[in-house]
């Protein structure tokens, strides 16, 4: 295969599981500690490479650590062990419309959200028409976003995020929302990404969309890597495990 876009190298991530979470001073002073906890390993020694230019699916059942891994990629979490290296600009879309302010208009929120995602004002100015065009909410762009339908909200958020124009795009299950037309638009956008040699890493519970979009996949189960490689065999292995 060609070059590597993302290298996940022996990554482990633990969370503290609190038996009794007490974020109050009283409990801290009374017991001399803030809480009783034990470590829960959400990711254990996960290693794989994501080839450049591939569309890479991350599959596995609920709680298997997919979102945790994406957050490690996005530098929201920091792994306890191991390293993640990426080559090129990485943007993560873990939730669309994070940081939208309900009283502000769609236009103002594009600028706000864009800058949260790391775009400069000039960049947003340049891409503004594309963003609005892709979202399909032209008519409502000067309305406060609290008057948007939930689908419109997601469309706008998605349009801002997709226009960050990264080399590596990380997406967590945000495609499930939006109507059929918009979903199609998103798939087309991912295909366009792929054509221009960019890498997409996505999480989905819909095996049909993973099969349709991804050429590579990794299967996580309870924090460990079960299989990785070409999409078809990996998906088949996962589905076989579900049938048992």
């Amino acid at each position: 295969m060609s070059d590597v876009a993302v290298r996940v190298d022996h990554v482990s991530k633990s969370f503290r599981m609190y038996h009794e979470r007490n974020q109050t001073l009283k409990s801290a002073i009374m017991r001399g500690r803030t809480s009783v906890h034990e470590d829960f390993w959400a990711l254990q020694d996960v290693s794989f490479d994501v080839p450049e230019g591939s569309t890479f699916g991350l599959i596995g059942s609920n709680g298997s650590g997919k979102s945790t891994l994406l957050k490690c990629l996005a530098k929201i979490y920091h792994p306890n062990k191991g390293t993640i290296t990426h080559y090129g600009k990485l943007a993560a879309m873990l939730e669309v419309g994070s940081g939208f302010h309900h009283e502000l208009s769609g236009r103002e929120n594009i600028y706000l959200n864009g800058s949260i995602l790391g775009m400069s004002r000039k960049e947003i100015d340049r891409k503004f028409d594309d963003i609005v065009g892709f979202s399909g909410v032209e008519q409502f762009i000067d309305q406060p976003v609290k008057n948007y339908s939930s689908g419109m909200y997601v469309r706008l958020g998605f349009s801002v995020a997709i226009n960050v124009d990264p080399d590596i795009l990380v997406v967590d299950e945000v495609l499930a929302v939006g109507d059929a037309e918009f979903q199609k638009k998103c798939f087309d956008k991912f295909a366009e990404f792929k054509r221009s040699g960019k890498t997409v890493i996505l999480v989905s519970h819909s095996m049909d969309s993973v099969r349709a979009m991804c050429d590579h996949a990794a299967w996580l189960n309870k924090g460990t890597l079960k299989a990785v490689g070409e999409a078809t065999p990996t998906i088949a292995a996962y589905e076989a495990s579900l049938d048992n």
């Binding site: 803030t34 929201i76 940081g99 009283e103 706000l112 949260i116």
Partner: protein
């Protein structure tokens, strides 16, 4: 050094988040930005009634400005105090109330508390501008002192930022912090020379002398409160129109730098864990 670079890179985000606060705050109100004046004016009226009319606090006239208006003297200290209290009260919750954003997007976290400082500063600038106009109408020669007023405002903003950085982190681990803080700030106003002059504390302290036979007086302890020095600087510049005591400047600078250094250090140490801890 790297940290400074990162913060510089985030300045556009800081501006946008600040504008989010500023624009969102008085949206859909009839009076808009004028609401920023409502709180200080209401406090000014009630304190003037109680402390100038009923209790009759004696104030020396402004020297050399010659002003002798309790309400105006009060505002010269009250506006900085309200700014300070607003920064801390909104700064302390800045991380907790943006938990969703912190857990979903990677960005320089320090902009969250700092945008609270900046949006409070925006309102404060507006209030001080109105006060300066009123002072000028009343005959105070305040315009030449404006550059120094701005310096003093910047120092107080730096001091408040440092505290806000520490408090926002503390509140992530102990949600008690925000409730504790609001009590401390209420008491703090009475322990600072906002509604009475320091000279009254000095007089009272003289009557008592050293505490328990030590040479330490109540006034010395009183001076441990940094706001005593900040308010001294503001009143000298705005109300008296004279050079503030150089030691007051030095003490303010020391507190501001100290708070910022400790605040940034605490923040840096903890920011990586925020997404999990929230």
């Amino acid at each position: 050094m790297n940290y400074l670079k990162e913060m510089l890179a985030s300045r556009e985000l800081l501006i946008n988040l600040t504008m989010r606060e500023v624009k969102g705050k008085y949206k859909r109100t009839v009076f808009g930005q004028l609401w920023s004046l409502a709180n200080p004016l209401a406090l000014m009226l009630i304190y003037t009634f109680v402390f100038a009319f009923i209790i009759r606090i004696e104030l020396p006239p402004g020297d050399p400005s010659g002003l002798n208006v309790f309400a105006i003297w009060l505002l010269c200290g009250l506006l900085p105090w309200i700014f300070f209290a607003n920064v801390l009260n909104s700064g302390v919750t800045s991380l907790v109330s943006n938990a969703g954003l912190i857990q979903k997007v990677a960005f320089s976290r320090v902009v969250l508390p700092l945008s609270q400082v900046a949006s409070a500063a925006y309102n404060w600038l507006f209030e001080i501008a109105v006060l300066v106009v009123v002072l000028s109408i009343l005959g105070a020669f305040v315009l030449p002192w404006l550059p120094l007023v701005v310096v003093a405002m910047a120092l107080l903003a730096v001091f408040a930022s440092g505290l806000a950085l520490m408090l926002s982190i503390a509140n992530v681990y102990f949600r008690d912090t925000q409730w504790f803080l609001s009590i401390i700030l209420q008491l703090g106003m009475y322990l600072s020379p906002v509604i009475y002059p320091v000279t009254m504390v000095a007089d009272a302290s003289e009557g008592v002398g050293g505490i328990w036979g030590t040479p330490v007086t109540i006034l010395d302890l009183y001076h441990l409160n940094p706001m005593v020095h900040f308010l001294d600087v503001f009143r000298s510049l705005l109300y008296d129109n004279r050079w503030p005591d150089p030691t007051a400047w030095l003490v303010c600078i020391a507190w501001a730098v100290g708070a910022l250094v400790v605040g940034l250090w605490v923040f840096r140490r903890n920011e990586k864990n925020l997404a999990e801890a929230l």
